[in-house]
């Protein structure tokens, strides 16, 4: 049913990814799909990496690690933007198109009042992406 699963990851908050990653691994195995991890970074130094090149290396390693330990086919795609806090949704929607993914699995927090006016990234992607979207609550 699915052949390409896109998984947005935030390397600065890996602890919040566990459930979503497990879920995407299970789905990938079930459908024999490949997993594409998408990470977004600014060009300024951040807590994960000091340069975009370093970020790319870390994301590649993270994806390779994930692929090996779950025996699925996994690759990484790092996107560098000027203003990640604002542009994240647009970048992820573009990545869905460009990677040709047919399923997006992403972690999100439990919504509250704020989400009525200011949707979470997961909510925004689910509302606008052409692919199926599975939002995993933590």
């Amino acid at each position: 049913m699915f052949s390409k699963i896109m998984v947005p990851v935030d390397l600065a908050h890996k602890e919040k990814l566990v459930k979503g990653l497990q879920c995407s691994a299970d789905l990938a195995k079930h459908y024999g799909a490949e997993v594409i991890m998408v990470g977004v970074t600014a060009d300024t130094p951040g807590s994960v990496a000091h340069t975009p090149e370093e970020y790319r290396t870390k994301l590649d390693a993270f994806a390779a690690d994930f692929g090996a330990s779950n025996s699925v086919n996994a690759s990484a795609r790092a996107v560098v933007v000027n203003d990640p806090a604002i542009d994240l949704d647009a970048i992820l929607l573009k990545a869905v198109k460009e990677t040709d993914a047919d399923l997006v699995v992403m972690a999100s927090h439990v919504p509250g009042i704020k989400e009525y006016i200011w949707p979470s990234n997961g909510g925004k992607i689910a509302a606008h992406a052409a692919a199926s979207v599975m939002v995993v609550r933590d």
Binding site: K14, D43, H50
Partner: protein, 545 residues
């Protein structure tokens, strides 16, 4: 999955730049959590200390307006009179240092490593440099400053007890119109030309170098790593960053105050809307609301778009004034004023033994302090958009091109207004109060209604871009150099800047209390900038070229 968090903070050797090895991890001193529905991620001492101090300052000004007013005017006098030589001397050093960077091999270093590519086109880049750096000031002083210097020069010198009491630059030019025009324009260009842009270039270069090439967080303290070592992550660094937040906030609030008074004056000219506190408060609130929308659209969707629109509008207004005014006189004036600037530059920038004390302290020292207090903000903003440029390209573009544009702007706006006095005997602009002079000048040209409206729009949009980029910068500093901190923090700072501007406009001292704060934060920050020059030199020397 293996845990890779242990290697965070230790840079990968990329070979393209000389990364500084440090155990500091960006955001390690941050506290993050949830406040009601909003998440936050802030650098604890810097955010709290600067936030509380600014709130305390605002309360003091409101609670004891008389006492605060006196304290501010004492402070203003003490700093400009006691340290005028220091501001002038330091600014000269910054210009010389920038010129040094252009001609030495250090200029070949590329920001972001040898293979880095620029993020923005030249047009978008210049637009943002300009909108952030001078916007409102150009609108406010474009007509009024050349006019003031021209008038005071015409008035000649006056002395009482051996001290000059007039405000004319240098030796004035009593009664000699041609000489007064040249001197007035040279003095104006001096305040808007090489010196301010050298100040911005130093801060921007330090920030860009130490974050893009050295891998340190994008905050002011990172530039001090060559001097303080790992102590920059402790209280030394907190103090430097907090100072930067103060300087930025007060510098911005002053400009917002100027913007509000000028927009109000323009609306009064055009539509007869009264000039009072209520209108100005409504203006600041309304414009802050527009700035919020821009904040929420981010760097590329908000401030960049607005900056480009504004540059286009400003350019059209410039062309319009140029061609409907005395075109030939302005164009020959441009070259002549530039020569006058070069001619008077040594005398105007001389920091000691000056006779024109009022001009030197009240104009030049205040300007230098104002530019310096803006420098963390403009510098960080310039740094944010300058990755991928070489140091030489960077310094030339930040120093020379904006200076030339300022010369052109002042020649056109100031030149037309002065011609109106000299040729036509039209003195309405000369006689009006500062915020109104631009509109009085436009009044004499065709389509005054439309151009005045464009003038007001320009003031407002420059206000929005300053407020927006200022929020971005303060947020980055108070988040310990993180550029992806939760967006509500930017919203907080944007509202806070507007609030400070409103409160201080309403206080007894009004704009003058803001100006006092600007120069008093400018003074310690001048020391910071001087040390930065040394750090830049050290940092560039170890980079691959």
């Amino acid at each position: 999955m293996t845990d890779t968090s242990g290697d965070q903070g230790i840079p990968e050797p990329s070979g393209a730049s000389d990364v500084i090895e440090t155990d500091y991890e960006i955001g390690q001193d941050n506290i993050d959590g949830q406040l009601g529905p909003f998440g936050f991620d802030i650098h604890n001492p810097v955010f709290l200390v600067s936030g509380i101090a600014i709130v305390a300052f605002v309360f003091y000004t409101l609670a004891l307006p008389e006492q605060a007013g006196e304290a501010f005017s004492w402070l203003f006098g003490a700093v400009t009179k006691g340290f005028d030589w220091f501001f002038l001397g330091a600014a000269n050093i910054f210009v010389l240092f920038c010129l040094f960077l252009i001609v030495t091999p250090l200029g070949s270093v590329r920001l972001g490593g040898v293979d880095a590519k620029p993020d923005y086109t030249y047009i978008g880049w210049f637009a943002m440099l300009f909108a952030a750096g001078m916007g409102i000031g150009l609108m406010f002083y474009g007509v009024s400053e050349p006019m003031s210097h021209f008038s005071s020069s015409m008035g000649g010198t006056a002395a009482e007890g051996g001290a000059r009491t007039d405000w004319a630059p240098l030796g004035a030019a009593a009664g000699d119109e041609a000489a007064a025009v040249r001197l007035g324009m040279a003095a104006t260009i001096f305040h808007w030309g090489l010196h301010p842009w050298a100040i911005y270039a130093i801060v921007a270069l330090a920030l860009a170098l130490f974050s893009y090439n050295k891998g340190l967080p994008l905050t002011i303290r990172s530039a001090f790593y060559p001097i303080l070592g790992d102590r920059v992550w402790g209280w030394w660094g907190h103090a430097i960053d907090t100072l930067a937040v103060f300087a930025t906030l007060f510098g911005l609030a002053t400009s917002l105050g100027f913007g509000a008074t000028q927009a109000n004056a323009g609306l009064n000219e055009l539509f007869g809307i009264p000039i009072n506190n209520t209108v100005e408060v409504v203006l600041i609130s309304g414009i802050t609301a527009i700035a919020l929308i821009s904040v929420l659209r981010g760097l590329d969707g908000g401030v960049k778009v607005l900056s480009e629109i504004n540059m286009g509008l400003a350019f059209l207004l410039l062309l319009f004034v140029l061609f409907t005014g005395p075109t030939v006189a302005i164009l020959t004036g441009f070259g002549d004023y530039l020569l006058a600037y070069v001619e008077y530059l040594p005398a105007l920038s001389n920091p000691v033994g000056r006779e024109d004390v009022n001009f030197m302290q009240g104009w030049t020292a205040f300007y230098w302090a104002w530019w310096i207090s803006w420098s963390p903000f403009v510098g960080m903003f310039i740094a944010r958009v300058s990755r991928g440029r070489s140091v030489r390209e960077f310094v030339i573009c930040v120093l020379l091109i904006p200076s030339l544009v300022c010369v052109l702007w002042m020649s056109v706006f100031g030149g037309v207004a002065i011609q109106q006095v000299v040729q036509d005997g039209y003195t309405a602009a000369q006689d009006a109060e500062l915020p109104r002079q631009l509109f009085k000048m436009l009044d004499q040209l065709p389509l005054a209604g439309i151009t005045s409206l464009i003038g007001i729009v320009l003031v407002i949009v420059f206000f929005v871009t300053s407020s927006d980029s200022g929020s971005l910068v303060i947020d980055t500093i108070t988040a310990g150099g993180k550029v992806d901190a939760p967006v509500p923090q930017r919203v907080f700072w944007c509202i806070f800047e507007g609030a400070v501007a409103i409160v201080l406009l309403l206080s007894a001292g009004g704009l003058s209390s803001l100006q006092s704060m600007v120069i008093s934060t400018g003074l310690p920050f001048t020391v910071v900038l001087l040390l930065m020059c040394w750090a830049i030199y050290k940092g560039l020397a170890s980079e691959p070229r």
